[in-house]
């Protein structure tokens, strides 16, 4: 086996993110090489450098033993490097074949050689075990199949070094299995695969070798058969790994939140966005909502918060809140961690202390009557920053200057500062690093012990299983199953989410 690609002592100064101080990776042909590290450790920067999107300040890149200098991704593609992005870049109204050839269409005189392209795609699909029908529209495909199109697209351009950026983040367990099978096929065909992830069990399953980066530097390169997930995690964070878990039952008798037949019809009158959702949530209890994204979870949050009209009824502490505005619901003691922090929870161009006010602008400590109490707000912001380890120069820092994980910690801290009786937490640890994730879990656990009720929505199945007292599975706007997290594995939960079980 020969070395397909090698990075030597890559350094990159990059505002806002920890600079890549010294990253070295060596990937051999016919292997799957995983690059792991916390968010912000510098994984993405390294890959952007390898893919020609950024240029290193110093260090060398060697492809097949020759030093290269990429000015842009086209140079990288030329050298046989392909990237399968986490967020797919496909045209929905094009067929699979059209998407695959888009941008590098084989010409037949002045026209596109569809026949030749089709034959090549079919052949490639068979060769690598990427089974797909080239003639369906991409909009009809599921997430796993879309990813397959992305892979074929990269292969079609002649790549033999493939970078996968967090490829499993969007997949359910069954799709993950399919993906790993495809990676197996690529390896067998002599491709070099770079697999970026922070899910360590997956890394150990699929990778031959693992490079661990921490704070912008390579800290270890190991064979996956020689390490355990725990050891990898400790290498990643430099300390012990937190686990999502809640100890014992803290559920109290009183019912904090009661939903009865809550539905949201669509304008067209077809299938309801939310149909007859009914459940009770007690104080001190966490109910986990599991489901593939887009099956009504967002609408459920909007109904509870009063952001969307619904039929049926929602009671909070035994009183109907159906007629109450969003502001009233906030003020009653319902807290929200929205799923998209930048769009729904922050004013990116404003300083943190002003963001501290958002959602809390109707009471203490940020207001004195109708006037902003700037000093109290800044003090409170500082307290949140300390308690939740928000890493920023100070309350005057703009929200946009913070990393995603720090933004999330700030938002969690902001919501917890009013000690809500009910917390609607939508993906509370999405995109945050392991350390912050553990801290957020800790906060939720403690609040639960004190009697806070939590509606937890997450795509992280381990988080759902570990943190919830009860799991509700949503599919096409309805609750289709109720599971006991103590007796449920991520695979079983995944099956229930897709409706397979």
């Amino acid at each position: 086996m020969s070395v397909a690609v090698e990075l030597r002592h890559i350094t990159k100064r990059f505002p806002g993110v920890i600079a890549n101080k010294d990253v070295s990776i060596k990937v051999e042909t016919g292997t799957v090489h995983a690059l792991v590290g916390e968010n912000g450790a510098g994984k993405s920067t390294v890959m952007k450098i390898l893919y020609g999107m950024q240029r290193p300040d110093s260090g060398e890149i060697l492809v097949n033993g020759k030093e290269v200098h990429f000015k842009n991704p086209n140079d990288a593609i030329e050298a046989g490097i392909g990237m399968v992005h986490q967020h797919f870049m496909l045209a929905d109204n094009f067929t699979v074949l059209e998407n695959i050839i888009l941008g590098s269409e084989p010409k037949h005189g002045a026209t596109i050689d569809f026949v030749g392209a089709r034959a090549k795609v079919v052949e490639m699909a068979a060769q690598y075990g990427l089974d797909i029908n080239p003639d369906v529209l991409v909009e009809e495909l599921g997430v796993g199949q879309r990813q397959r199109v992305e892979i074929l697209k990269v292969l079609f351009r002649g790549a033999n070094i493939l970078i996968f950026d967090e490829p499993t983040a969007v997949l359910v367990p069954q799709e993950v299995d399919d993906l790993f099978q495809a990676l197996e096929g690529l390896r067998a065909q002599g491709m070099a695969v770079i697999f970026i992830s922070h899910k360590l069990d997956e890394v150990l399953r699929v990778a031959d070798e693992v490079t661990v980066v921490r704070q912008g530097a390579t800290v270890a390169e190991v064979k996956s058969k020689d390490v355990t997930a725990r050891q990898l995690a400790e290498l990643m964070v430099g300390s012990e790994l937190p686990k999502p878990s809640t100890l014992g039952h803290t559920r109290r008798d009183e019912i904090t939140l009661a939903l009865k037949d809550v539905s949201i019809p669509t304008a067209t009158g077809s299938r309801d966005l939310l149909s007859n959702i009914t459940f009770n949530l007690h104080a001190g209890e966490v109910v986990g909502i599991a489901g593939v994204e887009g099956n009504g979870q967002a609408e459920l949050v909007e109904a509870i918060m009063g952001l969307r009209d619904y039929t049926g009824s929602i009671e909070f502490h035994g009183t109907s809140i159906d007629e109450l505005s969003v502001a009233d619901r906030h003020d009653l003691g319902i807290g929200l961690i929205p799923e998209d922090r930048q769009r729904q929870a922050l004013m990116m161009t404003s300083p943190l202390w002003e963001n501290r006010i958002l959602g809390h602008q109707r009471g203490k400590p940020v207001m004195r009557g109708f006037v902003i109490d700037k000093k109290a707000t800044i003090d409170s912001t500082r307290t949140i920053m300390q308690e939740f380890d928000v890493r920023a120069p100070g309350p005057d820092t703009l929200a946009a200057a913070l990393s995603g994980g720090n933004q999330q910690k700030f938002i969690v801290g902001r919501e917890m500062s009013k000690a809500p009786a009910l917390l609607v937490a939508s993906h509370p640890t999405r995109g945050v690093d392991v350390g912050a994730q553990g801290a957020i879990w800790d906060v939720l656990r403690k609040a639960r012990e004190k009697g806070m009720a939590i509606v937890l929505i997450s795509a992280d199945l381990e988080e759902l299983i570990g943190m919830s007292d009860r799991l509700l599975v949503m599919l096409r706007g309805a609750i289709t199953a109720e599971l006991d997290p103590a007796k449920t594995t991520p695979e079983q939960l995944g099956s229930a989410m897709t409706g397979a079980a």
């Binding site: 920890i18 969003v326 769009r343 404003s350 602008q361 120069p393 200057a401």
Partner: protein
């Protein structure tokens, strides 16, 4: 650690604050110079003439009088800008405000201060009502407020001309000018000459400074306080900065849209008053046009902040007044329009450059903190 970094005034921050206006000024002087050179005249002469004429006591008073309505109208526009809306209909709102306040204000006599207050209320009511049409259409029907307020400007022009000529104007023998009945003395706002004389300013042939100057200053202070320091102002700004987050945080976006547009219209209604209450004492055919449009540029240049708009209103006033002297050296006085335009354009660009630079700078500070 964090104290040292978040300290308010570091040399680089002050430098950045000055950099944008300075760059904009230099760039716009260059462009204006080109315009003067194109008419085969010396830019140095032109600027010198403008400066000499513009800084005489009489001119400076006129500058303030020109800037006062600009400032009030700019505040009206800024209220909507801050909420993520754009009231382009200030021109129509101020026209109707001025017309109705002159017509209704001349119908009765009240004690001096009360009468002026009543006139203000009438102006704000009609300005606000006119804006409320656009607000209603936006909230109930989703009509873009830029479109509706532009169209309402045209309607206001026609409506005011019709009302003046057919209903509100006095019929005066031997005069072509149509005007409303003169406001009684109790509704007039005296100019500030008595006050200025005490400060040692000599009488000028062109008259004094409108009393509404103080109203404009007060409005500026109120605007600053409400927008930056109150709950309403916070929700207004949040709606502008991130409407989705504002809604999630409990701001009723429709209500906010409605209120912002109506308040904007009400303030706009006041912006036509400095001249009518201070000088003409009636609404007539010669009512100054274009305030509402120039004010858009004033608001943009002033970054929708109370202080910034004050400076830009005075700057626009100065250019307008001092450029009249250009005729003396055979340059078209309309050159000031080029100057205003180039200042606006270059400042918008300069501010954006500085904004990005500042964010990068903050990110670097942050990287240091994170690594420490």
């Amino acid at each position: 650690m964090s104290n040292a970094l978040s300290r308010k005034f570091t040399p680089s921050k002050v430098g950045l604050a000055i950099a944008a206006p300075l760059a904009a000024a230099i760039f716009s002087i260059l462009i204006s110079s080109l315009a003067v050179i194109a008419s085969k005249k010396s830019p140095v002469d032109a600027f010198k003439t403008m400066w000499e004429f513009g800084t005489t006591t009489g001119s400076l008073m006129e500058v303030i009088n020109t800037a006062t309505p600009y400032y009030i109208a700019a505040i009206a526009i800024a209220v909507t800008f801050r909420a993520g809306l754009f009231n382009i209909g200030v021109e129509g709102q101020l026209r109707l405000g001025a017309l109705f306040s002159c017509y209704i204000g001349a119908m009765f006599v009240l004690p001096p201060v009360l009468h002026v207050a009543a006139v203000f209320i009438v102006a704000m009511t009609f300005g606000g009502l006119w804006a409320a049409i656009a607000a209603y259409l936006k909230v109930k029907r989703g009509v873009n407020e830029v479109i509706s307020t532009i169209m309402l400007n045209a309607l206001a022009g026609g409506l005011s001309a019709y009302l003046l000529s057919k209903h509100f104007a006095l019929v005066e023998e031997g005069s072509n000018n149509l005007q409303t009945k003169e406001l009684p003395a109790s509704a007039q706002i005296p100019d500030l000459m008595p006050l200025l004389r005490k400060l040692g300013v000599e009488d000028q042939p062109g008259g004094g400074v409108y009393g509404m100057f103080f109203v404009a200053v007060a409005l500026g202070l109120i605007f600053w306080f409400v927008v930056n320091r109150t709950r309403f102002g916070f929700e207004l700004r949040a709606s502008g900065l991130n409407p989705i987050a504002a809604r999630v945080s409990g701001v009723n976006s429709k209500k906010m849209t409605f209120i912002a547009l109506v308040i904007s219209g009400a303030i706009a209604g006041l912006s036509g008053l400095p001249e009518v209450l201070g000088q003409t004492h009636s609404y007539n055919l010669g009512f100054r046009a274009g305030i509402g449009f120039s004010a858009i540029a004033v608001a943009l240049l002033g970054r929708n902040s109370a202080g910034g708009m004050a400076i830009s209103a005075l700057l626009f006033g100065f250019l307008e007044v001092s450029s009249r002297a250009l005729e003396l050296i055979d340059i078209a006085p309309e050159t000031y329009v080029i100057m205003q335009g180039s200042i606006l354009l270059s400042s918008v660009v300069a501010y954006e450059v500085v904004r990005r630079f500042r964010l990068t700078l903050q990110s670097k500070e942050l990287a240091k903190v994170v690594q420490a």
